[in-house]
Every structure is written in C-alpha cells, then in structure tokens.
Amino acid sequence: MNLTLKVWRQQDAQQPGRMVDYPVAGIIPDMSFLEMLDVVNEGLIAKGEEPIAFDSDCREGICGTCSLVINGRAHGGQKGTTACQLHMRHFQDGDTITVEPWRARAFPVLRDLVTDRGAFDRIIQAGGFVSVNTGGTPDANALPIAKVDSDLAMDAAACIGCGACVAACKNASAMLFVAAKVSHLSLLPQGQVERERRVSAMVAQMDAEGFGNCTVTGSCEAACPKEISLNFIARLNREYGVALLKGVN
C-alpha cells in the first residue's frame, strides 16, 4: 500500500506546531497503525530527520498509552479499538490519512503526537479510590456482591484512561472518564461509605483541570475503545445530584 500521511509536528509545548505531509510506501495490510508509523520513523531516522514522537506501550489495547486522532477520529474510529490495535487492512491504497494528537487544553502537547494526560491522574488522586490501607481487610467472601452489580462495575472499570473520550468530544469533556470511575466504585458496597465525597471531589478536580462540559452528544461513547456506556454519565450526574442535595463538599 502507498499512503500519504498528514502528521502534526510540534517541537515542544511552547512552540507552535503544523501539519506535515509524508509519502509512505510499502505498507502491508497486516501491519498495525503504529507499526506503519514505526516504518515511517525508521525511514526518517535513516534520512537523519527526527522521528515522529507518539506514545505507545503495550500495543495490545489495554494500557491506554496510544493516543492518536486518525482521520479526525480518536483511535481511528474502529469500534472498540485502540490505535495500536487498528490494522492497515482497514485503509485503502492511495489514502491520505491525517494524524493528530488528542486536542484539549487539559492535555497539552509535549511533542508531535505526545500529550500530557496528568489531568486524569490528578482526578483519580482527588478521590478515585476506596480509602483502605493494606492489611486488616475482611475475608473476600465476607461481602457478597450481586453478580449484576459486580458485572456492571466491571463494565465501568474497564476504562483504560486513554483520553479518547476527551479527544472525541466537541467540548473536550472528561465526563465519561470520571463517570466510569465514579460508577465502578459507587456500584460496589466497598465504595459506599465515601461515595458522595468521592464524586464531589472528582468533579471539582475535573473542573479545575479545564475540561469542557458534557452536552450529551454521545461522541465519547462511540470513540471509547472499551465501549464504556453513556449511561455511566447519567449515573455520575445522579451521584453528584445526591451529593449536592446532601450538601457534601
């Protein structure tokens, strides 16, 4: 396959970036999208140019590191697929493909396609946990949990924190990410005692990071590689509403 890539190049967070065209030849349909970029980079290095910086690690769709907007769609728009699992067989010979970083004020570009998603970590640090220390916990079977609740919690917990929801949202909102963690923990009995405090603190941190607001367009759900449901955002709103009514700070 021969392709034309239009890639965002940016030296660092301070300098402005621009789209640069790269002709690419000899791509095999069995390659993953990132392996295609590896090929491009090997060519650039051989020419003495700096390779395109992009984040990736596990390359099996679970670590959430890869973060490319491909042809205007987070992770390339294949249902339930991260960019590292996207294969070139979904493209046609002769295609022009645009590749951009996640774009959000809360995710500043560090270089080329690499962004800083520390905002997500700070949201979790604000309250995305159950406050138990190591040791002294009851027997795991002491607390029966209905399978439906446990399964639903798992649906939410499947979030890989990649940020595709933010990238896909027209408002760069992080509601799906926050909703997934709030739902996961509020669905389980272990997470009950601090559920109001948790949702309140996490939303406050989300706001402080400068994400946009949810206008219920559904783009996040469609882009999510783990197919986290929009229903969890309703659950987040519900949790927040209860916290508000109870006057939790």
Binding site: S32, E35, P51, E60, H87, F120, T134, L188
Partner: protein, 637 residues
Amino acid sequence: MNLDSKIPAGPLAAKWDKHKFDMKLVNPANKRKFDVIVVGSGLAGASAAATMAELGYRVKCFCFQDSPRRAHSIAAQGGINAAKSYQNDGDSVYRLFYDTIKGGDFRAREANVYRLAQVSVNIIDQCVAQGVPFAREYGGLLSNRSFGGAQVSRTFYARGQTGQQLLLGAYQALSRQIGHGAVKMFPRTEMVDVVVIDGLAKGIVARDLVTGELSTHAADAVVLATGGYGNVFFLSTNAKGCNVTATWRAYKKGAVFANPCYTQIHPTCIPVSGDHQSKLTLMSESLRNDGRVWVPKQKGDKRSSDQVPEADRDYFLERKYPSFGNLAPRDISSRAAKEVCDEGRGVGPGGLGVYLDFADAIKRLGEDTVRERYGNLFDMYEKITGENAYRAPMRIYPAVHYTMGGSWVDYNLMSSLPGMFVIGEANFSDHGANRLGASALMQGLADGYFILPYTIGNYFASTKQSKPNVNHPEFKKALESAQAMTKKLLSIQGKRTVTSFHRELGKVMWEKCGMARTAQSLQEALKRIPELREEFWQNVKVTGENNSLNQDLEAAGRVADFLEFGELLCRDALMREESCGGHFRVEHQHPDGEAKRDDDNFAFVGAWEYQGPDKTPLLNKEPLVYDEVHMSTRSYK
C-alpha cells in the same frame, strides 16, 4: 561473594510468622524520617509505594510511562492464584506452595514460595476491599477458574482483564497517597543509575523523559520494581517500553543477577505475521480451559482446519499429557508446539502455528457461554488477524512472555547491594525455572503489599544509617557518567537505527537461546552479541537532542543495556548444563523428549557478579536445599 539467603530457621510453615516477629520495627514517629525510592509503578511498585506511604515512610515513585496506571502488569489477562480454597476442591496453602515449586521445576527457594502461598490469601482480601471487581457467582461470592499446572480451581479473575483491575486497585491506592502528599510521583522519568555510598544503595539518577534533564534523588533505600527483561528477544508479549536498564545498571553497581536463562515462552500467542512485527500478543492461557490444541497428523497437510477429519487430527497435548491435557504447564506446552512445528506439521503461513480449537466447547456450552468467558480475547484475535475464532480455530504459537530470572534477592527481598530491594518480576525469587499461570500477579502484589513493607523496616532498624545527601561526590559521579553516556549515544551518528540493532539482537536470542538451546548455538550467540554491541557503539544513529522528548534516545539507552545483558543470558544458559523449566538444553533430554534435570550438579541459583567492562562475570552459587518437598521429576502425564 557470599550469597546469604537469610532464610529463617524453623519449620517451613512457621518461618514467615516467626520472621515477622523477629524483625526489628521502626516506630511510627520515626518512619517519616526515612526516604524510600520506588522505581516502577506496576503491581509490585505501586502496591509497595502505596503501602509504605500508608505506614508513614516518605516515598518517591518513578515510572517511565506517562502515568503509573500504564505499567505492563495491566496486560495480564487470565487471573491471580490464591489458596483460598473457596471451591472445596482440596486446595490449601501447602498445595499452592507445592504446585509452584513443582511448576518451577525445583529451582526456587522453598521458604520464599511457601510465604508467597501464605500471603496469597491476604491479597484477594485486600483487592476486594479496594473495589477490584472480580468475577462472581449469582450467589454473590467469588468465582474461580483453573489454570495451567494446577488441578484445582484457585484462580480469581476479572473477565480477561485481571491484571488491569489489580493494577488499577494498586494505582488507586497509590493515587490516594499521592493526593495526600505521602508519595511524590515522577511519571515519564527513567532511572539511569543507582548511587552507592559506602557500600549502601543511597539514591538514584533519573532522566526526565520530557525535558531530558538528569536529576539526583537520595534515599535511605531504593526499591526496584522494574519488571522483566523479555524484550531482549525484541519480539515478546512485553510492552514496547519494558527494559532491563534498572536491574542491569544496578548489576553493574554490585547487585548480582540470578538465573537470567530462565525465560518463559508462553504457548498461546498470536503467530508472527511479518518482518514489520513490533510485538507479540498473548492470548490468555485461560483459553486452554476450553480450547483444544491440535495439528494435522500428516506433515504438510495443507487442508483448511474444517476439512481435516477428526481421525487426521493430533491433539498432541492430550495425547502426551493425558492427566493435564491442554492445561499442561507453559514450558511443556510451548515445547510440544515447537516439536510438532519442527516436524513440519505446523499450520498457517510459514508453518509456525498450531490450532486452538473451540468447536467442542461451543458445542458443549453454547457460543454465548464461550463468548461470556473469552469474548474479549476472541475480539482481540479478530482485530489482529482479521479471523473469527468462533467459526474457525485460532492459530497460536509460543512467544517470550515472562522472565523468571532477575536481580538476586534474599528472603527479605534485598539484593546483594545492601539498601537496594528488588520486587516483582524484576527479582528472581519465587518461580524457579518456570512460572505457573496466574502467579505473576500474585508475586508482584505479595512482594509489594505484604512482604517488602515489613522487611524494609527491619533494614532501617537494624542498619546503621547515615542520612543520604545528593551533594555527596558519588551522586555527582553517577550524574556525570549518565551525561557522558547520553552524549556518546548522540555523537556516534552512524548508519544503523536503534531498532535494527534491537531486532537483530532479538533474532540471535530467539534462534540461539530461545525455546531450545545447544552449547553450539549458545557459543555462536556469545560470539555474535559482542560483535553486534561493538557495531552498535560504532555505527548507531540516534537522532535529535538530549534536552527534549527524544524517544529514539530512550530506546538507544535501553538497547545498549540489552546488548550487554543478552550476553549474560546466553552465558548463564551455557553454564546450566541441564534442562529445567523454561531452560531447555537439547543435549539434556530424556529419550521421549522430556527435559532432563541434573539435581546433583545444578540444584543452585546461578548469580552473576559484575567484574568490570568486558570482563567475564563471576558465577556465585546459592545452593537450593529442599527440606520439605522431594525433588521429583516433574511429570504432567
């Protein structure tokens, strides 16, 4: 070097409890006077950092990823073992201990493994309390499944994402401590050296991967939780960023490296599709619970799988190992697959693959049940190969997955460099020559939650401490040597890319020191690797600058270490004139092709001691003494 394992005296079952009592404690008010550096934020690192911060130590945690949540523990699919015996099927701490020792082919320390089995129980309690959504039955209690190398169901799981859920549990515990200010987190920061002052590890030099800035950090103890070295093979199931740099550079500072030749080849991975391949993807071993492994009986049978009648199929695992069948341990299953492919009976392009067939399971359980159990794995398989495994069998082939070797540590998880502790996959301690499925998560969390936080206190309380200071000349020296290495890498400006060296090294390792090793192949590798290393330092091309985000430079540093480490791995494999677990020497096998262990001469831990650049390392032996179990020939027939 005298390798003192510091195994407590007394009966096996009482060792850990007695040791916990014997260890000195640091009183709560004094804990906040101790600084601990944790390098790595996977299961072991995150759990250790969180737990030590909860205890009151001042912790700094470093990871090269952009967030601690991305460490490669996240990719573990199948589950975590624990001797809870919830299934009433005869499990016990002793049985988990025995299975692990036997699975490790009698090359692990009894005392460590017994302790691991003991604390496995607490891990599940801890994780459930954190909100890890393990699979449950309709009655609300936890569900279990069986796994390779065991005849009981003791594996806890969260769909096919157990590693992810456990890591998120540890990450959340860590995040809580970061939020409290008890842990200072350094993401996108790579450790480049350990600083040793008066024979004690007292800090590290780290590189900020965004700015390129080198910084020094002093501490009373350094904990490495930096994972395994599977990427020395280039193609492995490890994440792209996994590397040996931390433990290797510690090795050069005096932390001996044990059993590097014990590498685990996982039987159920998606076969290589071409030269472009950047990594291999594992399909959880849990698939073997319901999938049947087979190849055609006739070599060169090119019929598609549905055209091969039952009579022409060879379910070789069921045939060779009737009592364990498709659940034979990883090393055995991998080698069996290699054998049938070497006979020319492999399937798929290049003949490097065997079928993993779910037709029977779908017939027996229905497609929905199979989908519920393994749906995400089937989806993953389809994404990568474009094939639907509900219709046709999967094709699988073994790939490098886990490394049992690592920094040598004593019972307290301290390396031979005092003050430096090594936990999780980065150490060598618990899996012997082969790790059983669902035991890596168990070990990482055991070390991090329940072992290191105790033993590190004993170190603080029983060692005369001088307060470390980054102004010490040793810090300056380490900083300068790190700067010099970066400068050198950037100044070579040769013709070959870093990846091309890594790929070639990987090829040498896989072909000469992979699933089957011979003295000759190892000698060839030992000749080729130094040449390749020489060429690397003459001819590598690293683009960009030091003072910015430079992924090419990051990779170059890691590959430079792999080029040294690969040689040690082959040297260890050549030294070990026996076959055991993940180490198979073709010269040492029984007539039926089974591994032939040599307990008389090789029942020891081989720990290599650095002697200086280009000098042959020194082999130290820690004898393995088995008081409790009899060293039998491992049989899964």
